[in-house]
């Protein structure tokens, strides 16, 4: 675990782990299960944002269609449960499988383009999926789909219990982070780094840029689908709005806030954004106004997000690297 970021002292890790495990237990003891549910939601968005960070931060690919994979994962589980298939293993496998397939197809076509055209094509695909799902009235269409119960993973796990569900989400988050870390520290990851910095040079050495990016895109899409499967479980509801391009925008905001291209950047961004939202929303209806200014400030003044800010704070002389 320490290999992930050699700069992080052990005591900070222990503190983080203590918070992640201890806070919900404390809340449960206080009878505030509602807040445990809120924490779960934040972690789920964290997973979604981390999956986007793979292609956005590490890969340098600005995809406006990532929310589509989250939505596909959510709908797969939602549809299966509606049809009576409540087995979590099957449902989640289906969610990840179908989003992987979608990412494979969308990636294959989109990665042939660059720059703004890539952005537009991913956006176009996302909108297509959004409209398609909207028209499937059998599964709610516009109104969305309510599911009566959560996925069943056996082992006596009752996901309806907020605390149990939280720890399942936490487990998935940790596994996701481990996976991303492994990928980015492998040979594959080094090639991706090289490609992001200079396509042409990397290709001249012999790496087929397109193929590497495509694999990355599919992995990111699959993890996105996983977060969607968790999301529909959490809300007991999914609607096409989950796939709207503005949702992709929000995921991007989370990645930027947390720090593009850092391991847990997506997670921090999700936490900060959602907490900001909730706290500011308690005081004013116009929370989007304040969030907008904060985001603007971050982009203009701290382009590497909060992680970059802290790095600057800690070691102003050192040059930044973004792993």
């Amino acid at each position: 675990m320490r290999a992930m970021n050699p700069k992080t002292p052990l005591w900070a890790w222990l503190f983080g782990v203590a918070m992640a495990i201890g806070l919900p237990l404390v809340l449960h003891a206080l009878g505030q299960d509602f807040y445990i549910s809120m924490l779960s939601r934040m972690l789920i968005y964290g997973i979604a944002a981390c999956s986007l960070n793979l292609i956005l931060g590490y890969g340098g690919l600005v995809s406006f269609g990532h929310a589509a994979f989250v939505g596909i994962g959510a709908y797969m589980v939602g549809i299966l449960i509606t049809e009576g298939v409540t087995n979590g293993w099957l449902g989640f496998a289906a969610a990840m499988g179908v989003s992987a397939l979608a990412a494979a197809i969308i990636g294959a076509i989109s990665l042939r383009t660059r720059g703004v055209y890539f952005i537009m094509i991913t956006l176009a695909f996302a909108q297509m999926i959004y409209y398609l799902v909207n028209s499937i009235k059998a599964y709610g269409g516009d109104e969305g789909l309510n599911i009566k119960r959560r996925s069943d993973f056996g082992f006596g796990l009752d996901l309806k219990n907020d605390l149990t569900f939280y720890f399942v989400v936490l487990l998935v988050l940790v596994l996701t982070l481990l996976l991303i870390s492994r990928i980015m520290h492998s040979r594959f990851g080094r090639v991706i780094h090289a490609l992001r910095d200079d396509d042409v040079r990397a290709e001249s050495i012999g790496f087929a840029a397109y193929r590497y990016k495509w694999v990355l895109f599919v992995i990111a899409g699959t993890l996105g689908g996983l977060s969607g499967a968790l999301m529909v479980n959490h809300q007991n509801y999914v609607s096409p709005n989950l796939m709207h391009w503005t949702q992709s925008g929000i995921l991007m905001v989370m990645v930027i806030l947390g720090g593009v291209g850092t391991l847990a950047g997506g997670l921090w961004g999700a936490l900060v954004l959602l907490i900001l939202e909730d706290v500011i929303a308690e005081y004013t209806l116009h929370w989007q106004f304040y969030v907008g200014w904060i985001l603007l400030a971050v982009i203009l003044l701290a382009p590497k997000g909060l992680s970059g800010l802290v790095q600057k704070f800690r070691s102003p002389a050192r040059t930044k690297d973004s792993a």
């Binding site: 970021n5 700069k7 992080t8 002292p9 900070a12 890790w13 503190f15 983080g16 918070m19 806070l23 809340l27 206080l30 505030q32 299960d33 509602f34 807040y35 549910s37 809120m38 924490l39 009235k137 269409g141 516009d142 109104e143 969305g144 309510n146 009566k148 809300q235 007991n236 509801y237 609607s239 709005n241 989950l242 921090w268 936490l271 900060v272 907490i275 909730d278 706290v279 308690e282 209806l285 909060l306 992680s307 802290v310 704070f313 800690r314």
Partner: protein, 394 residues
């Protein structure tokens, strides 16, 4: 890493800030009010809220003798936002009653939260057919009218007029489907067109062109809020009212639409369970007080919101203020006697109303204002709904 620490600290302190420790006081009535208070259809939610709060105010800030604590939120016309608000009121604030939602799709998204946690939901508007039938629940009360009812009355009216061809249009969601099904249930002529548009759609140029091509005698549309206002404006602008009679469900021709469309509304016929001129004492007081307080005439949404507050008042009073006894409260809600602004009504076995439905016409009143006046005898009297037989509750 300091960052992890800082962020964890931020999380902890923010969560702590949010954790208010509400003392569960049985000495007030806690109500969660979720409605559409922004966007083109905001007028509907605003009317329900204003009338509800008016009833509370006229009661000295109390319902059933206990102080009323009403928390109001905006669902922004989005089902997922509505659902989250329901979750918050049910799980965090543990309200006694949940109410307010205008649109069926938003209510259907949030209702499971309430029902699964045994929180009572009183609907001042949305009352879709699945909840009247197989999915009925003892925790759901419709204080308005079954979604089909206005449309059944309108269909009956068209039958009475011996109309031969009718063109139907509604948005593609549960209430929309219910509406046209209801119309067709009582309409005996031919349907020359049945079109479902996108919920929230505001430009009907394409649909109006098709109506013109179909040449029906009558057009019947179910388009609540901003959708209906735009449709009627565009219908008139396209000159279609020359040869085609437009029939509306009551809310399609109510005060908010009249305000937005203007004199073109004169002569439109519509059907509803209530009218400004219903001659009972409760209604006369309601209309006068509403106009005095808010400087505008109430719509039927307002009448429904007002009645919801009156129902809560009667039920809480009958229970003697014992909010904790949920089962008793359910019984009191079902049997509570109160002076509704619509005159007589009672709950059917599925907790949906049995009441009269009238024909109304937009005319000028004594002060030259455009209002709906009730015309003739009730089109459907003591009318329930078609789904009650599917409901297992007896």
């Amino acid at each position: 890493m300091r960052l992890a620490f800082l962020k964890s600290l931020l999380t902890l302190s923010s969560v702590a800030a949010l954790v208010a420790m509400p003392a569960l006081a049985a000495d007030k009535v806690k109500i969660g009010f979720v409605s559409t208070l922004s966007g083109p259809s905001a007028a509907l939610g605003v009317d329900i809220r204003d009338a509800f709060m008016l009833a509370v105010k006229l009661n000295g800030g109390k319902l059933g003798g206990l102080p009323a604590d009403v928390s109001i939120s905006d669902d922004q016309f989005k089902p997922d936002v509505g659902k989250q608000l329901f979750e918050r009121y049910v799980k965090r604030d543990k309200v006694d009653f949940l109410t307010g939602v205008v649109f069926s799709n938003i209510m259907l998204a949030g209702l499971p939260e309430a029902v699964d946690n045994k929180t009572i939901y009183l609907s001042p508007n949305a009352a879709p057919s699945p909840i009247a039938g197989a999915q009925c629940s003892p925790y759901f009360y419709a204080v308005s009218w079954p979604n089909d009812a206005y449309h059944e009355a309108a269909g009956q009216y068209a039958t009475n007029l011996k109309v031969k061809s009718a063109y139907l249009l509604a948005p593609n969601y549960q209430a929309g489907k219910d509406s046209l099904a209801g119309f067709k249930r009582f309409y005996k002529g031919t349907v020359s067109g049945e079109v479902y548009t996108k919920l929230g759609q505001l430009d009907y140029a394409a649909e109006l062109a098709e109506i013109r091509a179909a040449k029906p005698e009558v057009v019947y549309t179910f388009l609540p809020g901003g959708m209906g206002i735009n449709f009627i404006k565009q219908f008139m602008a396209a000159g279609l009212n020359k040869d085609i009679r437009l029939i509306q469900p009551g809310f399609g021709a109510d005060q908010d639409v009249i305000r937005a469309v203007g004199n073109d509304m004169l002569g439109v016929f519509d059907t509803a369970h209530w009218g400004l001129d219903l001659p009972n004492e409760a209604n006369k007081k309601f209309v006068a007080e509403f106009e005095k307080e808010y400087k505008r005439l109430p719509t039927l949404y307002a009448a429904q919101g007002y009645d919801t507050a009156l129902l809560i008042d009667a039920a809480v009073r009958a229970s003697g203020g014992k909010m904790e006894d949920k089962d008793a409260m359910l019984k009191h809600l079902k049997t509570a006697k109160f002076n509704s602004v619509r005159g007589d009504f009672r709950f059917n076995t599925n907790n949906f109303p049995i009441q009269n439905y009238y024909l109304r016409e937009v005319q000028k009143d004594a002060q030259g204002r455009l209002v709906n006046r009730i015309v003739g005898q009730p089109i459907l009297a003591n009318h329930g709904d078609a789904y009650v037989k599917d409901c297992p509750m007896k």
